[in-house]
């Protein structure tokens, strides 16, 4: 009779639990509370199950040892006095930094003043000089960045026109050899060299008002790539002039190929060096 009477609410609860987004509602409303007459039905097992789930989800801290139960004998000598575990003494010492300052306490706001009062102080002459040099460095490096990107564009144009020049001169069995790209390539090449040198000077001679230890970062990658690009630029200058001087000689094509490869490599190094700071 009673069982039949309980099946209605239990079924309702089960339906609600299934329809609810989580099973936590079952934990919040244990079935025992729904017993009208306080009887202990068969469904009292449910809170225990819920507790088991809680234990799985949350690791409870180990309960303090019961003073009434003796500690297990782990091989201690019989003469050894029994040690009863005592709770850890409460530490009343609070670090000075964590102590609320009187000002904040007096203010009544819930802020923490961990650093204490800060007094604005005047900058020394050395600090002012450093600040001024840092500003100069910032401006110099901004110009260095802009000029570097412009030089990268010039280098890309130089390599592209150089490729056209190579194809005009050597491609196929009957190349045009019109020389229509030669002047453009030369002008672009020298403009690139000038831009590269100027940009490099800006970077090299920018003031360094503070210590900059060498470490593996994007700055080091930029410097390594630009060092390789500098070697490429210098070799391209000599190789380009030498290639032009070999006009009419049989080895001009092989020299031009070396010039071409180093040019593309220089473009790759410079692009990588620029990308180190852009991305």
């Amino acid at each position: 009779m009673n069982r039949l009477r309980l099946q209605g609410p239990v079924a309702l609860l089960l339906a609600l639990a299934l329809a609810a987004p989580g099973a936590a509602s079952a934990e919040a409303n244990p079935v025992r509370q729904l017993q009208p007459d306080g009887a202990a039905p068969e469904l009292q097992v449910l809170p225990g199950l819920v507790d088991a789930k809680k234990k799985k989800k949350k690791k409870k801290p180990a309960p303090p040892p019961d003073e009434g139960t003796p500690a297990p004998d782990l091989g201690s000598t019989p003469e050894a006095p029994e040690t009863t575990p005592t709770p850890a003494p409460e530490t009343t010492d609070v670090p000075p930094a964590a102590k609320p300052s009187p000002a904040s306490s007096a203010g009544g706001d819930m802020n923490f003043d961990l650093l204490g009062e800060t007094k604005p102080r005047e900058r020394t002459a050395a600090e002012l000089a450093i600040a001024q040099q840092a500003e100069v460095r910032r401006t110099t490096l901004t110009i260095h960045q802009t000029a570097g990107l412009a030089t990268l564009g010039l280098l890309a144009a130089t390599v592209l026109v150089g490729q056209f020049n190579y194809m005009d001169k050597f491609a196929g069995s009957a190349p045009s050899n019109s020389g229509k790209w030669e002047t453009t390539h030369s002008v672009l090449a020298f403009a690139t060299l000038g831009g590269f040198a100027a940009t490099g000077m800006l970077g090299l001679f920018a003031p360094v008002p503070y210590d900059k230890p060498v470490k593996a970062d994007t700055t080091l990658a930029h410097k390594l790539c630009m060092g390789a690009a500098t070697l490429g630029m210098m070799s391209e200058l000599g190789l380009g002039v030498y290639t032009a001087s070999r006009e009419g000689y049989g080895n001009q094509k092989s020299v031009a190929q070396a010039h071409q490869v180093i040019g593309f490599s220089t473009l790759v190094f410079m692009s990588a060096g620029a990308s180190a700071f852009l991305f």
Partner: protein
């Protein structure tokens, strides 16, 4: 700054595009007038040619009638050879050291021809040959392709033979069936 670089680049490129000194310059003229050494008239002394010229499709071709893609094979007295290819203006040139007299052959689309005469700078320029190479256009130039710069005259060239149409006449052509040396570099 970027605009300044861009404007400077455009100006430089625009200024640089106007150049008269290129491989296609002055077809049909005697290259050795400038591409020589040892004389103040040698304005292109930085690029002295040992042999140079222009290949035209016909004796009376205009200066724009140069033939592109003609292979010119030149062998010197020491059997050193060079293989040249005419550019889109018909010009060919080399600075490789060559010891005259030279043997000259041409190859164009499978047809070969060669000069009967072995030219030397003295034959072309006479006493003014110092510092000059073999300039083909020193003799083979319009309107008379048989009169050289120093007034020497060459025998009237025969009708081009050696494979039929398509061979630009050199003024001297080989007889049919002549054997030609292997192209340098082939």
């Amino acid at each position: 700054m970027v605009r300044l670089f861009g404007a400077a680049t455009i100006l430089l490129i625009a200024a640089g595009c106007q150049s008269d000194n290129s491989p296609v310059m002055r077809p049909g003229e005697d290259c050795m007038t400038c591409h020589c050494t040892g004389d103040s008239s040698c304005r292109a002394s930085g690029l002295p040619w040992t042999a140079a010229g222009t290949v035209f499709g016909a004796y009376d071709s205009p200066v724009t009638g140069g033939v592109q893609g003609v292979h010119v094979m030149i062998w010197d007295a020491l059997d050193a050879g060079v293989l040249l290819t005419t550019n889109e203006a018909g010009n060919f040139y080399t600075g490789e050291p060559l010891t005259p007299p030279l043997r000259v052959y041409i190859d164009y689309q499978g047809s070969d021809a060669g000069m009967l005469t072995q030219p030397t700078p003295v034959m072309i320029y006479g006493s003014g040959a110092a510092g000059k190479g073999v300039g083909c256009n020193g003799c083979h130039q319009a309107p008379d392709p048989t009169t050289c710069t120093n007034g020497n005259t060459l025998p009237t060239p025969p009708t081009p033979v050696g494979g039929g149409a398509g061979i630009p006449p050199l003024g001297r052509v080989a007889v049919p069936g002549a054997s030609f040396p292997t192209c340098p570099g082939s």
